[in-house]
C-alpha cells in the first residue's frame, strides 16, 4: 500500500481539488470562503507530509511554514467575512 507520505499527499491533493471546485462553483460568499480554507488546508497538509520522512530529527521548517500559513489564512478569512457582512448590512439597509 501507500507509505505515509504518499497517503498524506494523496489526501492533500484531493482537498486542494475540492477546494478549488468549491470556490468556482459555489455562489454564496460564505461557501466560497470555506472552500478557500479547504484549499489552504490541503496545501498545509502537503507541506506537513514531508516533515517526518527521514529518520532522525523531524524537519521543523514545514511546521513553521504551516503555522504562518494558518495565521495568514485566518486573517484573510476574517477580512473576507468582514467585507461580506458590511456588504450584506448595506444591502439590507438599501432594501428597507
Amino acid at each position: 500500500m501507500m507509505s505515509q507520505v504518499e497517503l498524506y499527499t494523496f489526501c492533500a491533493v484531493i482537498l486542494l481539488g475540492m477546494g478549488m471546485t468549491g470556490l468556482i462553483l459555489n455562489q454564496h460568499i460564505i461557501r466560497k470562503i470555506i472552500a478557500l480554507n479547504i484549499m489552504g488546508i490541503g496545501i498545509f497538509m502537503l507541506l506537513i507530509s514531508t516533515a517526518g520522512v527521514h529518520s532522525g530529527a523531524i524537519d521543523p521548517v514545514p511546521h513553521a511554514m504551516v503555522l504562518t500559513g494558518i495565521v495568514v489564512a485566518v486573517a484573510g478569512s476574517a477580512l473576507a467575512l468582514n467585507l461580506a457582512a458590511r456588504l450584506k448590512d448595506m444591502t439590507e439597509q438599501a432594501d428597507d
Partner: protein, 528 residues
C-alpha cells in the same frame, strides 16, 4: 565591502544607517513599517500627513543611496543575512540592479501619492484608515523587491493583497465593497496557488532560498508543475487576460490615490515575482512554448483592453482598462526574453518604470477631475480643459507615455521592446506592439478631444476646483516620465549592474529546442 568585526552583546551603534549598505537594506522595509505604526497609533490626521511626508522623503533618500551603491560597483550585489543565519537556515535579503531600480520607483511614486493624498480626502475617517494601510502596502512592495526566500515572498504577497483590498474597501459604498470582496477572493486564490508551488518546490528540493534553489532545480514534471501553478497564481494577481476580470471594477471604484497605487505599484510587485520565477529560479523548467503562450495572452490583452477602454463611458474605468492593455506588453516580452535577454531585460525594466509613473499620474489627474466635476462621465466633460488645465495637461503627458510618443519614458520602453522583437526575429510581436500603440492613441485622444472642444449643446457644468497643491504629486511623476525619456542611459546602466543574475541557464528545454531548430531566434548572448 568593508569588514565588520562581530561584537558580543547589545550594540547600539548600527541603529542609524551604517556605512555598509548591507546593514541598511532591511530599513527599506522597516522605515515604512515604522511609518505605518506611527500613523496608526497617532490618529490625528495632521500628524499622519507630516509623518508620511517626512518618512516618504527619507525612504526616497535611502533607496537612491542604495541604487547608487549598486550602480557604481557593477559586480556587487548587496546581501543581508537576517539574524546572522546564512541560507538555507535563515532568510537572506539581496539587492541587484533591477530590484534597486524598482525600489527607487516605489519610493518616488509612493511620495507622489503621499503628496496627492494630503489634499485628497474629504472624509477624515477614510483618511485615518488610509495612511497606515498605505504604508503597509509599501512595506509589502519593498519586501517583495528585496527578499530572497520564496516563503517570505508568500507572506509579502499576502500583505500586499490584503492591504490593497483594505484600501479599496475604505469607501463604504456598495460598488467599492463588492469590488474589494471580489479582489480579495481572487487574491487569496492566487496566493494559495503560489503557496502550492512553494510547497511542491520545498517538497522536492528542500530549500527555500532563491539562489540555492536556482542551482538545484532541474527540468522535471514536478518543477514544471510548480512553475505552472505559481504562474497561474501570480497571473491572477497581475490580471493578465483572461484572469483580469476583477481589475476594472477594483481599480475604478477605489479612491484615486489607491487606484494610482494599485495600477502603478501593486501589479508590478506580482509581475516582478513572476519574472524572477521564470528567468531565475525555475528557468530550467521554463519553456519557449510556455513563454509564447503568455505572449499570446498578452497580445490579446492589449487588443481587448484597448477596445474596452474605447467603449467605456466612465473616465476611471478607461484608465483601468488601459492598465489591462498595458500589462499585455509586459507579457509579450516573455518570449522575447528567450531570444535576446539583454534587450528584453532593459525593455521590461523601462516599461515597468514608465508605465508605473504614467498610470499613477493618470489616475491622480482623473481623480482630481472627478472630485471637481462630481462625476466620472466622459460625455459630460466637454470643454473641461479650459477649466482644469493642469489636470488635463498631466493626463495628456501620461497618455503620451502610454501611447509611446517621444520624449517620454514610454517611448524608450516601446523602442527597446521593438528592438528586442526585431533582433530576436519574432516579427509578429512587432505588429502587436504597433497595433497597441494605435489603439491606445484612439482611446486617449477620444478623451482629450472631448476635453479640449467645448460643445455648444452641452451646458457647462459648475466645477469645484480642489486645492492646487495636490497636483504637485502627479506633476513630479510626469516630469520624471519625460526625464527618463531623455536620460535613458542612466537607467540602463543601473540595470546592467548586477543583472547577470537574470541569465537564462542553458538547460535541457531550451538547448534541445535550439538544437532542433524549433526556436527561430538570432544567436542569443549567454548571460549579459
Amino acid at each position: 565591502m568593508t569588514e565588520v568585526l562581530p561584537v558580543e552583546g547589545f550594540n547600539f551603534g548600527p541603529i542609524l544607517i551604517a556605512q555598509q549598505p548591507f546593514s541598511a537594506l532591511p530599513w527599506v522595509v522597516m522605515l515604512p513599517l515604522i511609518a505605518a505604526l506611527l500613523c496608526f497609533t497617532l490618529y490625528n490626521i495632521k500628524a499622519q500627513r507630516v509623518i508620511s511626508l517626512l518618512l516618504g522623503i527619507g525612504q526616497m533618500l535611502l533607496t537612491v543611496w542604495l541604487a547608487s551603491i549598486i550602480a557604481e560597483d557593477a559586480a556587487s550585489s548587496v546581501v543581508h543575512q537576517l539574524g546572522g543565519w546564512p541560507a538555507p537556515l535563515g532568510i537572506v535579503l539581496t539587492l541587484n540592479g533591477f530590484s534597486a531600480l524598482l525600489l527607487v520607483m516605489a519610493a518616488v511614486i509612493g511620495f507622489a501619492i503621499t503628496v496627492y493624498s494630503c489634499r485628497y480626502f474629504t472624509s477624515s475617517e477614510q483618511e485615518r484608515k488610509f495612511w497606515p494601510l498605505f504604508w503597509l502596502l509599501l512595506v509589502a512592495l519593498n519586501g517583495i523587491f528585496i527578499s530572497s526566500d520564496i516563503f517570505n515572498l508568500y507572506v509579502m504577497l499576502e500583505i500586499l493583497g490584503l492591504s490593497a483590498v483594505s484600501l479599496v474597501a475604505i469607501q463604504a459604498q456598495r460598488g467599492a465593497l463588492q469590488a474589494a470582496l471580489q479582489y480579495l477572493l481572487v487574491g487569496l486564490c492566487g496566493s494559495l496557488l503560489y503557496l502550492f508551488g512553494v510547497a511542491l518546490l520545498y517538497r522536492t528540493y528542500g530549500v527555500l532560498d532563491i539562489n540555492l534553489l536556482s542551482k538545484v532545480v532541474i527540468a522535471e514534471p514536478v518543477s514544471q508543475l510548480a512553475l505552472t501553478v505559481i504562474t497561474l497564481g501570480l497571473l491572477l494577481k497581475t490580471a493578465l487576460f483572461p484572469l483580469h476580470f476583477w481589475l476594472p471594477s477594483a481599480h475604478s471604484n477605489a479612491p484615486a490615490p489607491v487606484s494610482a497605487a494599485l495600477s502603478g505599484l501593486v501589479i508590478k510587485g506580482s509581475f516582478y515575482l513572476l519574472f524572477v520565477f521564470w528567468f531565475k529560479i525555475l528557468s530550467p523548467a521554463a519553456t519557449f512554448a510556455g513563454a509564447t503562450f503568455l505572449g499570446v495572452l498578452g497580445a490579446i490583452a492589449i487588443v481587448w483592453g484597448s477596445v474596452k477602454a474605447f467603449n467605456t463611458p466612465r473616465l476611471k474605468l478607461v484608465v483601468a482598462y488601459s492598465t489591462v492593455a498595458q500589462l499585455g506588453y509586459l507579457f509579450v516580452l516573455f518570449p522575447l526574453f528567450f531570444g535576446r535577454p539583454d534587450l528584453a531585460m532593459g525593455a521590461v525594466a523601462y516599461f515597468i518604470v514608465a508605465h508605473a509613473c504614467a498610470k499613477a499620474a493618470m489616475f491622480m489627474a482623473a481623480g482630481s477631475i472627478q472630485k471637481a466635476a462630481g462625476h466620472d462621465d466622459i460625455a459630460r466633460m466637454s470643454g473641461i480643459a479650459s477649466k482644469m488645465p493642469l489636470s488635463i495637461f498631466i493626463f495628456a503627458i501620461a497618455g503620451a507615455s502610454l501611447i509611446g510618443l517621444p520624449p517620454t519614458g514610454g517611448f524608450i520602453a516601446k523602442w527597446l521592446m521593438l528592438t528586442s522583437a526585431i533582433e530576436s526575429q519574432q516579427w509578429w510581436w512587432v505588429l502587436v506592439m504597433l497595433a497597441g500603440g494605435l489603439l491606445a492613441a484612439a482611446y486617449l485622444f477620444r478623451i482629450l478631444n472631448l476635453a479640449f472642444t467645448s460643445g455648444q449643446d452641452v451646458p457647462s457644468e459648475p466645477l469645484k476646483n480642489g486645492p492646487r497643491e495636490r497636483l504637485w504629486g502627479p506633476l513630479i511623476l510626469v516630469t520624471i516620465t519625460i526625464f527618463i525619456g531623455f536620460n535613458a542611459m542612466w537607467v540602463l546602466e543601473l540595470l546592467n549592474a548586477g543583472t547577470g543574475v537574470f541569465a537564462l541557464q542553458p538547460t535541457d528545454g531550451l538547448m534541445t529546442e535550439l538544437a532542433n531548430g524549433s526556436v527561430n531566434t538570432a544567436p542569443s548572448k549567454e548571460g549579459l
